[in-house]
């Protein structure tokens, strides 16, 4: 079996990483329409640059990087509704309607998290939500590993401070993780 042609390769990259990109985008957008637009634009960009997509797990990090830039442009007001992904919008809208409400403690942690700066939130999210190592997060952000490690350390401290201000004891949460998980379900 020879190497796949570009269309076949893109198809497989898409199938392999779509769910990860969807999660990344959906967790960082408020509306299903915005999420569908950003997903469509991310993969349309990937298709135009299919020769640049790295092999292996590097593809996922590369796609996160593209999605991140797409979302940044959207936040700057540069987004336009695409003619693509019509059914995806309907699916994401329906999914949003079914999302369960969060518990009180989770809400308090989210509030503290929201008070952080954009850069802190993004880095903590890449590690906590996407499960990336600091080195992988550095690839997504296009920054050096050393700089990202320092920034991550500071971001953790700033979140701890916010939690403390909100009267939430961080050290207790480690042992309460199970309860939090149950609360989210």
């Amino acid at each position: 079996m020879g190497p796949p042609d570009p269309e076949q390769r893109f198809e497989a990259v898409y199938m392999a990483h779509y769910a990860a990109v969807l999660s990344y985008v959906r967790r960082r957008t408020d509306s299903p329409d915005d999420a569908a637009d950003a997903i469509a634009e991310t993969f349309a960009t990937a298709w135009r640059r299919v020769a640049d997509i790295p092999d292996g797990d590097g593809a996922r990090l590369w796609l996160y990087g593209v999605a991140r830039r797409v979302l940044a442009n959207h936040r700057r007001g540069e987004s336009r509704r695409t003619a693509l992904a019509t059914r995806l919008r309907a699916e994401l809208s329906a999914w949003a309607e079914e999302a369960p409400a969060a518990g009180r403690d989770v809400g308090a942690v989210r509030e503290a998290f929201r008070r952080l700066g954009d850069d802190d939130r993004e880095l903590l999210s890449l590690v906590g939500w996407e499960g990336l190592t600091p080195a992988e997060a550095a690839r997504v952000l296009g920054r050096s590993r050393g700089a990202v490690r320092v920034q991550l350390h500071r971001a953790r401290k700033r979140l701890a401070k916010e939690l403390d201000s909100a009267g939430l004891d961080v050290t207790r949460y480690g042992s309460r993780a199970t309860a939090l998980v149950e609360e989210r379900r």
Partner: protein, 291 residues
């Protein structure tokens, strides 16, 4: 503190969404069809892609319940032998069905234009289970609406589903209803059989009706087993997609198949991973009940 903080952040992760869905697979085809790959580069630009607000490419319908539908409904809608389309006016709508699936696209265009309808029809290769289907979406203004909301709206183009009803009206449409006085501009794709080496612009799950593994359980079987099942039907595996890893030309035979589609005649794409798929795609509702 480091671990506690990361743990806390992980616990407030918003829901990851529905994963790979029918709409997601449609998007894949929309993207690759809108800007075909040519000699080392993809030619169309982002602005063009995004500017196409109304020229909706209407590409793939990946059917949860793909059905082989005949467009030829002789006698049902008053045949006019020379027409490629049957267009009737009923209750404020033009009801359109296709009588001749392989007509010259110019004929479809003329017949629609003669009724003052700004809708273009194209005919593209699709996987066997979708031959004869009309591919959604039909109206740009579906954006952001749930299926229930779409069903309530009277000013949108809507599908006509096959006789006997259908659980998923998106994937078993055999015609269109267009409001009289419709001012939009739309383009609709009809599915035809693919020729050798022609890539499908829409494809249904491998075990949908009409597909190579019709009504057979293949999800969560091993790659080796599915390869044999496909081979017996003259289908080879073109490429594997490994979740979170990417494309592979081959994977261990002991891995599990998560999903699969025929992407061109005789060639399939399989999603496969070492573990099983915890949320397998349901069987087509058109398959006999399984016990």
């Amino acid at each position: 503190m480091k671990r506690d903080i990361d743990h806390l952040v992980a616990r407030i992760a918003p829901d990851p969404g529905p994963g790979m869905t029918t709409g997601a697979r449609e998007l894949l085809r929309e993207i690759t069809t809108d800007a075909p790959y040519t000699a080392g580069s993809v030619v169309r630009t982002r602005s063009r892609l995004l500017r196409r607000r109304f020229a909706v490419p209407l590409i793939a319908a990946f059917a949860a319940c793909a059905v082989a539908v005949s467009w030829l409904l002789p006698g049902v809608l008053g045949p006019h032998a020379a027409n490629a389309l049957d267009i009737r006016r009923e209750d404020g709508y033009y009801v359109i069905t296709v009588k001749q699936l392989f007509a010259d696209p110019a004929r479809y265009a003329k017949e629609l234009r003669d009724r003052g309808l700004n809708v273009s029809l194209t005919v593209k290769p699709v996987s066997p289970g979708l031959v004869g289907s009309v591919m959604p979406p039909f109206d740009q203004r579906y954006n952001g609406l749930t299926n229930e909301e779409i069903a309530r709206r009277k000013d949108l183009i809507s599908p006509i589903t096959r006789p006997g009803g259908c659980e998923d009206s998106w994937s078993c449409a055999i015609g269109l209803k267009i409001p009289v006085g419709y001012r939009g501009k739309a383009s609709v794709m009809l599915g035809r059989k693919g020729r050798p080496r022609e890539r499908f612009l829409a494809f249904g799950q491998l075990n949908n009706l009409g597909e190579p593994l019709q009504c057979e359980a293949f999800v969560n079987r091993t790659v080796g087993e599915v390869r044999s099942m496909l081979s017996r039907r003259g289908v080879v595996i073109g490429v594997f997609a490994v979740p979170l890893k990417g494309p592979r030309s081959d994977v261990p035979a002991s891995w599990h198949v998560h999903e699969g589609w025929l992407t061109e005649p005789g060639k399939a794409l399989l999603v496969a991973a070492p573990g099983r798929n915890p949320h397998p795609w349901p069987f087509s509702k058109d398959c006999p009940a399984r016990h």
